[in-house]
Structure formats: structure tokens, C-alpha cells
């Protein structure tokens, strides 16, 4: 039966002379062919071939260092006189555990590439026949050696003719090859332990999901030992366990890195062993120190300008407490503390959840949303207008109400919550170490640090609550309270101005216009509300109606804020190292195409390691920059650091969940070419039609 299937597959395979894929050698374990990147070769012009293995589920073949068992495939080429070929290039392998052992190899489908250079003396009309004798070991639990002879017979033409059928496959094969490392590598061993460290600016906590060092030589490492990863700013360190063989004079291999977007790349690394690279102090700070710093930082937060308006509100609350009963003071302080601590816990929990979902959430992340900033500016204005006496509130803010009422406690709680929301950006410069440590800790520790931050911030009120006698020293209530209240409105207006400035950075002039127009509407609405509060019957209803309409009008402005684009040039400079790049927008793409220029689109993000490496090893090389210049290619960079909606839509359109995304819109119109997420110089040159011969650049860029 099986023989029949094999015979059928040979018959059905596109293996006839002239095809770009040889007849297959088939077993129940593997279907193997040799594939060419071109349908027709040209004299002296190198082209790619690949030994292609499609493996049955559970079966695998091996990398050059097969790990604890196995052997890599071999291929010998019989070529026409004068032709030459490179060695097989092996893609980045996977760890394949079996029992207590670990092998390095490949499952499912794998391509081993070689570059063939035909002689220059060939003439168009000749034929170029090559014969590849390959042998490979394919293993599940048991191992079967297999072998085969594969033939390709290709016509010779004036210029190489790329093969449509195999171009995509070969390109994917090239993308799976390891790339030169852009990192500074150090490695060292002591006794049975050791470490390898990669230094590079793209590396940062959270930027890498997984990393693993595949040693080129057997015996250097214990292949089955886990390699715990430590990430600090700019340095990735893997702890290593020694194997039983000697340490070579140069430790080489591949480091495979899965970035936060889930893209896996291999980097060729090599270093002479030296002292063991130091592990960065494990989680930055020990937990107790992080908690102590957090509490201290929280206390200092009370003096920060951005909390000042909230302090003003709090001062009002305290002033009203003068002369109040001890129980009330205590309840008030407890409510405020609860508001602060619970809000910090909520923020910390959200941060942990976002991190868990693999999102790029930094501290103060709520400030990256223009809608949030605008709403906060309006809230500050509304509180200010209340303090100025434009209108009165009987809701949860409790600002105009008696301190002894139940509303006072609820008010104190929400005052605490608001203080936290506003204070977070101020924490960044002072709290960076503690928060950095907290975010890298397990979730429970993270939350403990955030709770400490809250306790610190609420500390003055905790003390007041614990020793209510202190309230005696507060001045007696009187007319001064009203003046204080009105005076405290101005810090609120100042806070609103600061928030508008923040918004200007994010959304430019359009956003500022929207937020100020909203402020006028809100001011009008609250004034109308105040007038209504002073009258009765019909006038009251008219005032309330006007107020509601004004607030609705202001809310209707929010979507405009979301759509407002950041000032041109501001973001792209930091997120990409591509020279002469402009910020991406669909309109700009359309305009450039209307001018007849080819357009290269680079969608990237500040935290995307793969993007940065691609820029360094493929997009900013002299050959690519020259090719861009020669063809007058416009380069547009999109910054997805903050998850821009238009870019997200473009990603979805191309079935991508994240960056990198590279598109090339050719000059003559038509659909864009989608480049792989992992680029080599050759892939880029090929895509923009600048390759000297088919894939010659790629051949150069990917020697192992």
C-alpha cells in the first residue's frame, strides 16, 4: 500500500524535467525534495537551492549540533564543470526534549539552503543539470537513516528567471536562517556554571519572551539544562550549565530570541570565554527595599505639583474637620486612605493584567490616552469652578457639603482616588527604581509595592486619624474657609492648563482646539447649572437642560481627540533609525503613489526588538540605502508603540497581530508586496527589484 502511495506521489509531483522542484523521496516519515529559486539560470549568476524536508508529525531532523543524540543532514552536489556551491545553511533549530535528554533540530517543514554559482561561460540555450545526493537521519523515538538523489535540470537564459512557485518558500527559508548578531556578546564559565550576555539597546525588561543559546559545539553545555534568562536595560543574560566536553577557545553558536510580539529570530554569536558575565541584581531591588522606597515616595508625592490641586481639596476637608468629633476625623481619614490605597491597587492590578496580556504598558500608561487626559483636564476645570462658587455639588465629591455627613466620607474616598489618578505621572522620575522593580516582580509583590505607595501618600491623614487630638491645632472654622476655598480654585485651573499642555504633545493643535472648545462648553454648562441652582421652577429646568446639552456637546468632542494625530516628525525620530523617513499615514502613501514614487512602509514600535534588528542588519545597509536612493523610494515609518488605531487597521488588513510589518508599494501602482517579519538585505533588495541576480544579496547576507 505504502509503495503504491510513494509511486503515486512521484507521479503526481511536479518532478518532470524543467520543474523547479525535484521528484520527491518519500517515506512514511519524510517527504524530501530539492527546490530551485529560479526557473531559468543565467551564466555566472548565483541562485539558491534548498533541501526541503516535510516531516510527519512527531518526527524530526537535526541541526549541525544535534544535541544529545542524532546527526545533521548532509548533501553532496554533482555540478557541471566550472560551477560551485556553498555549504548547506542550517536554519535556527528548536529544542526537542525527549525524556531527560534534549535534541536540537526541526519538526514539520524545514529548508536547508545552498547557493549555486554556475560558470560564466554558459550560453543561453544551454541546460544546467545538477544532482544532489543527500542523506539524513529522521527520528521520533526511533531513528531511521534515509537518503536520496535529487535532480534538477534548468534552462540557461540571458537573465535569471525567478520561480513564482518557489520564491515565497525560499524567502521563508532565508528568514528562518540565523542572522549576524547586532549585540555585543560576552561569555564565561566557572566550575559547572556560566553565563552568556548579549548587550544591545533594543534589549529591555519585557522586550523578550524567550531566549536560548544553542552551542555550535557538543560538550560545551549540558543540552538538557534550562537557561534562566535575566533581562535588564540593554543586557540579556542566560545562565548556562557546563557540559562534559572542554571549553573551546571560541564559544560560538546561535542565540534564538522570541520577542514580545512572538517573532523568533536566531543570531550568530561567538566570543572568547572570559570572566562569567555578571547577572544584573536579580529583580532590581529586594522586595522590602522596594516597599520602603514606595512608601517614602508616596509621602513625597504629597509635595508634588501635580498632586497640589488635590491637596487643596484635601486641605478644605481638613479645615472643615476642625472642631469635629474624633470619630468623624477618624472615619474621614480612613475613607481617604482607602481611596488612595485601593486606587493604587487598581492601577497596579491593571498594569499586571496588561503586562500579562503582552501589552506595552508603562507606568502612567493612562496618560498615553488623549481622551483620558482631556477628560481629566475638564474634571480639573469643573472642580475649580465648583471651588470658585460657580455651582454647588451634592454628589459624591461632597465639596460643598457639611463635613460630618455620610457624603463627607464618600467624598474623602473619591478625593483619594482622584489624587492617585493625577499623581501617577509625577511618580515616574522619583519612583522609577521602585516601580521598575515592582513591575518585574511576581504579581503579588507588585501589588504590595503599589499598596505601600498608597499608604505613604495617605500617611499624613493616617497620622491625623490615629491621633485626632492633633486636629485641635487646626484653626477654628470661620469666614476664612470661604476665602481659602475660592483661592484654592486656582491650583485646579493651573492643573487643567498643564493637562492641556500634555495633550498638545500627544494630539497637536487639533486636540488642543477640541479640549479648549470642550472646556468652554463645560464652563457654560456649569454656569447654567449654577444659575439653575439659584432659581426655581421653569428657570431651574431651563438651566439644567442647558447644562446637560453643554456637557453632551463636550463629550461629543472626545472622538475628535482620539483621531488627532501627533505633531509630525516628533515620534518617528525616536522609534526608527531609518534616515529620511517620514511619518506614515494612509494619505501620505496615497499622495506619494500619485506622484509615481515607490513607497516602503516600516511599521515599528519602540519596544520591538525584531524591528530594530531588521533596521540595523537589513534596512540601513549601504546596498539597501543606495537602492532606495537610486529608485527614489519614499520611506514611511509608522509608530505602533502606543497602538495607533490606523496602524492596527493596516496590520489587520495584512493578517498581522503586531509589528513588524513591511510593505513595498511599487512605482507603477498595484498591490503592495508584504515582506517577511525577519529581513535580510537580500530580501529587501529582492522585494524592491534591486537584486543584482536573483537572491544574490540574500546569499551574501546569510552565511552561517
Amino acid at each position: 500500500m505504502w509503495r503504491l502511495l510513494t509511486a503515486l506521489s512521484v507521479l503526481l509531483a511536479p518532478g518532470a524535467a524543467g520543474a523547479v522542484e525535484s521528484a520527491p523521496v518519500t517515506s512514511p516519515r519524510a517527504t524530501v525534495t530539492v527546490v530551485s529559486s529560479v526557473e531559468a539560470i543565467a551564466p555566472g549568476r548565483p541562485f539558491r537551492i534548498a533541501l526541503r524536508q516535510r516531516l510527519a508529525p512527531g518526527w524530526h531532523t537535526y541541526w549541525t549540533n544535534p544535541g544529545d543524540a542524532g546527526a545533521p543532514p548532509e548533501m553532496a552536489l554533482a555540478l557541471p564543470e566550472g560551477a560551485s556551491a556553498s555549504d548547506l545553511a542550517f536554519p535556527t533549530p528548536e529544542r526537542i526534549p525527549y525524556g531527560p535528554l534534549v535534541n536540537f533540530g526541526y519538526e514539520n517543514e524545514v529548508l536547508f539552503l545552498a547557493t549555486v554559482t554556475p560558470p560564466a561561460a554558459l550560453q543561453p540555450g544551454d541546460r544546467f543539470a545538477l544532482e544532489a545526493s543527500a542523506s539524513w537521519l529522521v527520528c521520533e523515538k526511533i531513528c531511521i537513516p534515509e537518503e536520496g538523489v535529487f535532480r534538477l535540470d534548468l534552462p540557461v537564459e540571458g537573465t535569471p528567471r525567478p520561480a513564482a512557485a518557489s520564491a515565497e518558500m525560499i524567502r521563508a527559508g532565508e528568514a528562518a536562517l540565523p542572522r549576524p548578531s547586532p549585540f555585543a556578546v560576552t561569555v564565561g564559565f566557572e566550575g559547572q556554571g556560566g553565563a552568556i550576555a548579549l548587550a544591545g539597546e533594543a534589549l529591555a525588561p519585557g522586550s523578550v519572551r524567550e531566549a536560548y543559546f544553542f552551542p555550535a559545539d557538543w560538550g560545551v553545555l549540558d543540552h538538557a539544562a534550562p537557561q534562566p534568562m535575566t533581562l535588564s536595560d540593554g543586557v540579556l543574560t542566560l545562565s548556562l550549565a557546563r557540559g562534559v566536553g572542554p571549553v573551546p577557545a571560541s564559544v560560538s553558536g546561535l542565540v534564538s530570541i522570541v520577542d514580545r510580539g512572538g517573532v523568533r529570530s536566531g543570531y550568530v554569536v561567538s566570543a572568547a570565554p572570559g570572566p562569567v558575565p555578571a547577572l544584573p541584581a536579580a529583580p532590581g531591588l529586594p522586595l522590602w527595599q522596594a516597599i520602603a522606597f514606595a512608601a517614602l515616595g508616596g509621602l513625597i508625592l504629597n509635595l508634588m505639583p501635580c498632586v497640589f490641586p488635590i491637596l487643596a481639596m484635601k486641605a478644605m476637608g481638613i479645615a472643615r474637620l476642625s472642631g469635629a468629633a474624633r470619630g468623624e476625623i477618624r472615619a474621614h481619614a480612613a475613607a481617604y486612605t482607602a481611596g488612595v490605597v485601593l486606587s493604587f491597587l487598581a492601577l497596579g492590578g491593571l498594569l499586571v493584567a496588561l503586562k500579562g496580556a503582552g501589552m506595552a504598558a508603562g507606568w502612567g500608561f493612562q496618560f498615553t490616552s488623549p481622551v483620558f487626559v482631556a477628560a481629566l483636564a475638564w474634571l480639573m476645570l469643573a472642580v475649580g469652578l465648583n471651588l470658585s462658587g460657580v455651582y454647588a455639588v451634592s454628589g459624591p465629591m461632597g465639596l460643598g457639603q457639611g463635613a460630618a455627613s455620610q457624603g463627607g466620607k464618600v467624598g474623602a474616598f473619591f478625593t483619594g482616588a482622584l489624587a492617585v489618578l493625577v499623581a501617577t505621572p509625577c511618580t515616574a522620575p522619583f519612583m522609577a527604581a521602585a516601580i521598575g522593580a515592582a513591575v518585574a516582580m511576581p504579581p503579588a509583590a507588585t501589588l504590595a509595592v503599589f499598596a505601600a505607595l498608597g499608604v505613604g501618600m495617605a500617611l499624613p491623614y493616617v497620622i491625623l486619624g490615629a491621633a485626632p487630638g492633633l486636629a485641635r491645632f487646626l484653626p477654628r472654622p470661620g469666614a476664612w474657609m470661604e476665602r481659602l476655598r475660592q483661592g484654592l480654585a486656582f491650583p485646579m485651573y493651573a492643573a487643567a492648563v498643564w493637562l492641556v499642555w500634555v495633550l498638545a504633545q500627544q494630539g497637536g493643535a487639533d486636540a488642543v482646539l477640541a479640549v479648549l472648545a470642550g472646556a468652554v462648553l463645560l464652563g457654560f454648562g456649569l454656569w447654567a447649572l449654577g444659575q439653575a441652582q439659584g432659581s426655581a421652577g421653569r428657570g431651574r429646568r431651563i438651566g439644567q437642560g442647558l447644562a446637560a446639552a453643554a456637557v453632551i456637546g463636550a463629550v461629543a468632542l472626545l472622538p475628535r481627540l482620539d483621531a488627532a494625530s501627533p505633531p509630525a516628525g516628533a515620534a518617528t525620530a525616536s522609534v526608527s533609525i531609518l534616515p529620511d523617513a517620514e511619518p506614515w499615514s494612509p494619505e501620505r502613501v496615497a499622495a506619494l503613489r500619485a506622484e509615481g514614487r515607490p513607497v516602503f512602509v516600516n511599521m515599528t514600535a519602540a519596544w520591538c526588538i525584531t524591528c530594530k534588528v531588521n533596521e540595523r542588519v537589513a534596512l540601513t545597509t549601504d546596498a539597501v540605502q543606495l537602492a532606495f536612493a537610486e529608485r527614489n523610494v519614499a520611506v514611511l515609518v509608522g509608530d505602533w508603540t502606543r497602538g495607533d488605531a490606523a496602524i492596527t487597521a493596516l496590520l489587520r488588513q495584512h493578517q498581522r497581530d503586531g509589528v513588524p510589518l513591511y510593505l513595498y508599494y511599487p512605482a507603477g501602482g498595484g498591490a503592495p508586496a508584504i515582506l517577511p517579519q525577519i529581513l535580510t538585505e537580500g530580501i529587501v533588495l529582492d522585494a524592491i527589484g534591486a537584486a543584482k541576480g536573483p537572491l544574490v544579496g540574500a546569499a551574501r547576507g546569510s552565511t552561517i
Binding site: 546527526a71 525524556g99 562534559v244
Partner: protein, 208 residues
């Protein structure tokens, strides 16, 4: 405070162990006493490493259906090495560590039959279906070779030779690591290469 940090580290360590799919192997040390074992041979007699004290011992991990093992039996290389061992007074122990139902598992009768049919001359074939000895030596492949001196000290571990293929024609071309090490150790000399890369089929560990 220190305690807290240490506890965190400990917790992280425990998590790692839990995450690791199976227990890892610790390789034995060269120059240290070789791990002892007690395994039944092809006739059911329990054999210990300690009983061969005073003689050099070769351990050969085997799986008769593994293509790498077959390469060395088909070519007659393994039999020649066993004969050489006998001639030099070296004890040759073949160890089958495959559990029942896995490739390479043998009963005593099958072991006797294989020895007979292949004209092999090991001092004994040891049956290790629980992979206990394989774990003790961190044996990874078949054939994985170890040489122990007369004092019971581990002196060589690694491959049988230098060409890691399944092709019979590679046997005469390869550097005979095991042969060189065995002869040196039998004469009380240190082998030129005490550790080499073993190659072959993965050992079918019990419970893997």
C-alpha cells in the same frame, strides 16, 4: 530581609523545577569512582561493577535496532573491539537500557541469541529495562561508551569513533576513540582523549 530575598529565589527555583518537563541527568565525573550498579545479565545472574575490580571495564550502551549500533555490528567493528578487549584482559559489558515495548528492549534469551548470531563476545549483556544504569552514567545515545580502570575510576566517556554517521564505509576512516582509550587504560596510561562526543540514537529512557 535577606530571608525574604532568599525565599523569593527559592520559590523561583521551585517553579523552575516544576516547569522542567522531566528530571535532568547529572553526568558522572572523570577521575572519580564510576557509579556502581547491580543488573541481571543474559542468564539472570546479578552483576555488579565492583566485582570486576582489578580489571579495566568497558561499558557499551546498546540497542540492536539502532542504525548507529547496526553500523558497528554489520561492519564487524564492535566484535573486533570485544575480541581485542578479551585479549587484553578488559571486561566488556553491553548494557540494554530500553524499557519493555521500546526499540532495543531485550530479554535474557534474546540477548543470548543476538550475541550468538552476531558472533559478539561481550563478557556479559546487562538488562536495564528501568534505565537505572543509563541514568547513573547520564548515557544519552547508543552506542555510548565508558571505560573504567582497575581501581574503579571512570577514565573515558564518549563516542566509539570520530565519524558520526550510520554508514559502514565510514568505520575504517574514523579515528577509533574507544579503541585508543581502552588500550591506554588497560596499560595504565591516561587516554589521549578522555571525553569525546558520543553519537547515535537517543536512549529510550524508562518513563520518558
Amino acid at each position: 530581609m535577606r530571608l525574604l530575598t532568599r525565599r523569593t529565589t527559592l520559590a523561583a527555583g521551585l517553579a523552575l523545577v516544576a516547569a522542567a518537563p522531566r528530571e535532568a541527568l547529572a553526568a558522572p565525573s572523570l577521575g572519580a569512582p564510576a557509579p556502581d550498579f547491580a543488573l541481571p545479565d543474559q542468564d539472570g545472574t546479578i552483576r555488579r561493577l565492583a566485582e570486576f575490580r582489578g580489571k579495566a571495564v568497558v561499558l557499551e550502551w546498546t540497542n540492536h535496532d539502532c542504525p548507529f549500533v547496526r553500523k558497528h555490528y554489520t561492519s564487524g567493528n564492535m566484535q573486533a573491539l570485544q575480541a581485542l578487549a578479551k585479549e587484553r584482559g578488559v571486561v566488556w559489558l553491553s548494557i540494554a537500557s530500553s524499557p519493555e515495548g521500546e526499540q532495543g528492549h531485550v530479554t535474557g534469551g534474546q540477548a543470548r541469541e543476538l550475541t550468538e548470531s552476531r558472533n559478539a563476545t561481550p563478557a556479559a549483556v546487562l538488562l536495564d529495562p528501568q534505565s537505572v544504569a543509563a541514568r547513573a552514567y547520564a548515557a544519552t545515545v547508543t552506542p555510548h561508551m565508558f571505560v573504567i580502570d582497575g581501581a574503579g575510576i571512570l577514565r573515558y566517556m564518549g563516542g566509539i569513533d570520530s565519524i558520526r554517521s550510520t554508514r559502514v564505509e565510514d568505520v575504517p576512516r574514523a579515528e577509533p576513540f574507544l579503541r585508543d582509550a581502552m588500550l591506554a587504560i588497560a596499560e595504565g596510561r591516561a587516554p589521549a582523549q578522555a571525553v569525546t562526543q558520543p553519537y547515535g540514537c537517543v536512549i529510550k529512557y524508562f518513563g520518558a
